[in-house]
């Protein structure tokens, strides 16, 4: 298929499709059940179309590289506060992550616990549904309850409801200072206790992770405020051990760097106190790290029975409430198992029915999220 450069061209391509389409932006997220079909490459829909720093809003075509948006924001001392993660390291993919891919997969990093998720920063979308119809929802203002919030529905739908062509985002100011408190030598359970104590304080922790046996707690803001909150937290958490202060690279957590190279990688969302139990459900030899104060577990495994591990992890998570996604795994495994957490029957019925309404011919990434 030729490079598509306009929304109209995308609409025509979808309307004229003879079979399943594999929607691709930067091609960095080879996640989900493998989809066989013609590639619909939307990376040609690129560019920031509107940026108003004083209104904290930015509008970009869906194929715009995230790096380009982040550079534009940095020039105005602003940023994407939800800290989108990059899967190229985990998946071993090349290419440049696009903003459409970020929103379509609701990709949020460590700051999600304080600032919100990608879906919380998406103000508006334009997309092409499975019949080739162009639809818009939301807008470019920060508060909007006009009609149903299809922006949320599109965020995290992995291209199964529509092909995003444009997204409007809320952006936030960058910060003057940042520091990370480090507590060494805590096991997963102790780590969650320490992180819960920090996150339940008034000191606005913008990242709380457990990586390599260390708890990392990030503070951001004006310099004096960061110093003050750091000292308060050190007092509050003194019982958990010595606390060092450092300038940590949070991309380690955001992009699950310790798991790069693993054969299989899971991303698991549970309530923070269940994080340690998730880790216990994994086989020996699995590498893990926790983000979101324990509420997000990244797990990696090399060798071993990936399908069996996957089944055990999803069963454990189903019992506690949450969801586990096999982000990386051999294609035959991803073709055979539910990559995304199976939904309860009532919810699955709603989901299937929504997919059918937005994509009646089942051509948009069909089966990627559920068979």
């Amino acid at each position: 298929m030729d490079m598509l450069r306009t929304e109209e061209a995308v609409a025509q391509a979808v309307a004229g499709a003879k079979g399943p389409l594999v929607i691709r932006g930067g091609g960095t997220r080879t996640v989900g059940r493998p989809v066989l079909g013609e590639v619909l490459d939307v990376s040609g829909l690129s560019g920031v179309t509107l940026y108003e720093p004083g209104a904290l809003t930015l509008v970009a075509q869906a194929g715009t590289p995230v790096a380009e948006i982040e550079a534009a924001l940095a020039a105005e001392n602003q940023r994407l506060a939800f800290e989108p993660y990059d899967l190229t390291g985990v998946l071993g993919t090349a290419g440049a992550s696009t903003i459409g891919g970020v929103i379509a997969t609701n990709a949020s990093g460590p700051r999600r616990i304080m600032a919100g998720a990608a879906r919380d920063f998406a103000l508006g979308v334009r997309f092409v549904d499975g019949t080739g119809q162009v639809i818009k929802n939301g807008g470019r203002v920060m508060k909007n309850v006009t009609g149903y919030d299809l922006v949320k529905l599109m965020s995290g739908s992995w291209g199964t409801l529509g092909v995003l062509t444009e997204v409007s985002l809320k952006v936030l100011p960058s910060v003057e200072a940042e520091t990370t408190l480090v507590i060494d030598g805590l096991d997963a359970a102790q780590a969650v206790q320490a992180m819960s104590r920090a996150l339940g304080s008034p000191f606005e922790v913008s990242g709380a992770a457990w990586v390599g046996g260390q708890v990392w707690l990030r503070l951001e803001g004006f310099e004096g405020s960061v110093a003050y909150r750091a000292s308060q937290l050190k007092t509050l958490l003194a019982a958990f051990g010595d606390i060092a202060e450092t300038q940590a690279d949070w991309r380690t957590v955001r992009d699950a760097v310790p798991l790069h190279g693993a054969d299989a990688v899971w991303r698991i969302s549970v309530k923070p106190s269940d994080g340690p139990a998730v880790i216990e459900a994994l086989p020996e030899g699995a590498d893990t790290l926790m983000d979101w104060g324990g509420g997000l577990v990244w797990a990696g495994l090399s060798g071993g029975d990936i399908a069996a591990t996957h089944a055990r992890v999803q069963a454990a998570v189903a019992g506690m409430g949450g969801h586990a996604t096999l982000i990386k795994g051999p294609e035959p495994v991803r073709a055979a198992v539910p990559v995304f957490q199976p939904e309860a029957p009532g919810v699955a019925a709603l989901t299937a029915s929504l997919r059918h309404r937005f994509d009646p011919n089942g051509i948009l990434n069909p089966g990627l999220m559920a068979a």
Binding site: G147, Y148, F340
Partner: protein, 482 residues
């Protein structure tokens, strides 16, 4: 506002519907005496009234499920109601409907500080959610003006905001999970105490769906530890243009105040008369509030007042005490009461890009002269969520219609400059017929497709959100299928 004619077939079956409802609910939970159903005839959009056929007050999810199943089988429309504080007519009944009030469902089910959530029945009021956790230092962030009365059920239905959402977000950003009953009585659990959805984000589309997709009976809400302190600064400026420029500069400077509230000349005077908040007499006033420890607040306010000084403020008053903070807020919080004391009014809540503020305010001023109706402006300036209060005389024939025409013109202007019809109150019946100005037919069709999925017979709050002519084929088909 036109409402669909009641279905005479449904009205004829009232006795049977009431009997069936009595079989599944306590005797005092089914209200069909016209003298009593009158209590449910309107919400806070009081210009429109219509007593429902029946009102029910279930106390559990199971009872809600029974009610909805029966109404589904009988083809009776259901209008869910929280506390009836909607300014958009979201809980306005039709004569053939069952009003489902959640007022008896107000328990706290679970409080979990380690995981920072609270689970409540949705009839609980917004303020009493915070009330349940504040002794332990926590709070629930969304704070609509009606928070003393409004129910979480209504907050979820309308995706309510509040003055402090610049920092903490609106309902959808603080909602983790729901128990929802679908129109056919099916109970679904969506979300939970964990973050984000592993599948499609159904929670995201349920929040703000104005009670059209299901009745939410329980909700898991994110709670936060209270800040150490908060302090406002009051600033007066010669004109709305200057105040608007100051807002943009504050935001660009990298400070994120917890609230930036804006009042124009008329509102300043009306509020001052009413609340004696000691406001300066000037063209526009800003209340900017920041949070943190004393030292953190000092530092942020120093930055903010430096910016303000560059805009030649006619008044600049940093609160020096809790008492003074309360007084600064008193005028703003009393704005609706203050104007209600001198006139009937209609409150709009269109949102605009912040950069369009001066232009939109000027145009509203021109419209005010054209229609001969006074208008005051108070709004959440940080996020462009306007609240023009248009004054009219309910006893003067034609004045309400004139006011509505004025309001519609303002909202169309909001859309024209890149904004939207409603930032936090919802569409309800009030903005229903303006939806075609913001959305093309295909956009509305996509939204209605979602309702088809959740409520195929279009029985839940059916005459809201979408223009009647647009939803008519669906509502009509549902009736014809009876």
């Amino acid at each position: 506002m036109e409402m669909p004619l009641p279905d005479s077939d449904v009205l004829a079956r009232k006795a049977r519907v009431v009997e069936r409802l009595r079989n599944v609910l306590p005797v005092d939970a089914v209200i069909d005496d016209p003298a009593e159903t009158r209590a449910y005839e309107c919400d806070a959009l009081t210009a429109y009234r219509c007593p429902p056929m029946v009102a029910v007050l279930p106390a559990t999810t199971a009872e809600v499920s029974d009610v909805l199943r029966i109404c589904h089988e009988e083809g009776v429309p259901v209008v869910p109601r929280g506390s009836g504080t909607s300014l958009a007519g979201g809980a306005l009944p039709t004569a053939d409907c069952v009003i489902l009030g959640v007022a008896r469902m107000n328990d706290v089910i679970e409080t979990d500080y380690d995981n920072r959530f609270i689970r409540v029945q949705t009839g609980r009021t917004n303020l009493s959610v915070t009330g349940a956790v504040e002794a332990d230092g926590f709070f629930y962030a969304p704070d609509p003006s009606s928070q003393l009365a409004c129910a979480i059920a209504g907050n979820i239905a309308m995706n309510s905001g509040g003055a402090h959402c610049l920092k903490y977000g609106v309902t959808t950003n603080n909602l983790l999970g729901v128990t929802m009953v679908q129109m056919d009585g099916t109970v679904v659990e969506i979300g939970g105490a964990h973050l984000d959805s592993g599948g499609l984000d159904l929670l995201g589309v349920i929040c703000g769906s104005e009670g059209q997709l299901g009745v939410v009976t329980e909700a898991t809400l994110r709670i936060l530890h209270k800040p150490e302190g908060a302090r406002p600064v009051l600033m007066g400026f010669d004109s709305v243009e200057v105040a608007g420029a100051c807002v943009a500069d504050i935001i660009k400077a990298g400070v994120l105040p917890v609230a930036i509230e804006f009042m124009d000349k008329m509102l300043i005077e009306v509020c001052e008369d009413f609340a004696k908040a000691d406001y300066p007499k000037c063209g526009a006033l800003l209340i900017v509030e920041v949070e943190g420890s004393d030292a953190e607040i000092d530092a942020q306010l120093a930055l903010i007042t430096d910016i303000a000084k560059r805009h030649n403020p006619v008044a600049l008053r940093e609160s020096a005490s809790a008492d003074e903070s309360a007084r600064i807020w008193a005028g703003r919080k009393a704005a609706f009461s203050a104007i209600g004391r001198i006139s009937d009014y209609m409150c709009l809540d269109g949102t605009i890009p912040v950069s369009e503020l001066p232009y939109v305010l000027r145009r509203i001023g021109e419209m005010s002269e054209k229609y001969g109706l006074p208008v005051g402006n108070v709004f959440h300036a940080g996020d462009g969520n306007m609240h023009p209060l248009i004054c009219y005389d309910a006893n003067k024939p034609g004045d309400l219609e004139l006011c509505e025409e004025f309001g519609a013109e303002v909202l169309k202007l909001c859309v024209e400059v890149g904004g939207c019809l409603t930032g936090e109150h919802g569409v309800g019946i009030e903005k229903r017929d303006l939806m075609t100005h913001q959305y093309a037919p295909a956009d509305l069709e996509a939204q209605m497709a979602v309702k088809d999925v959740f409520d195929a017979k279009w029985l839940l709050n059916p005459a809201k959100v979408f223009p009647l002519a647009v939803s008519e084929p669906r509502r009509g088909a549902a009736l014809a299928a009876e």
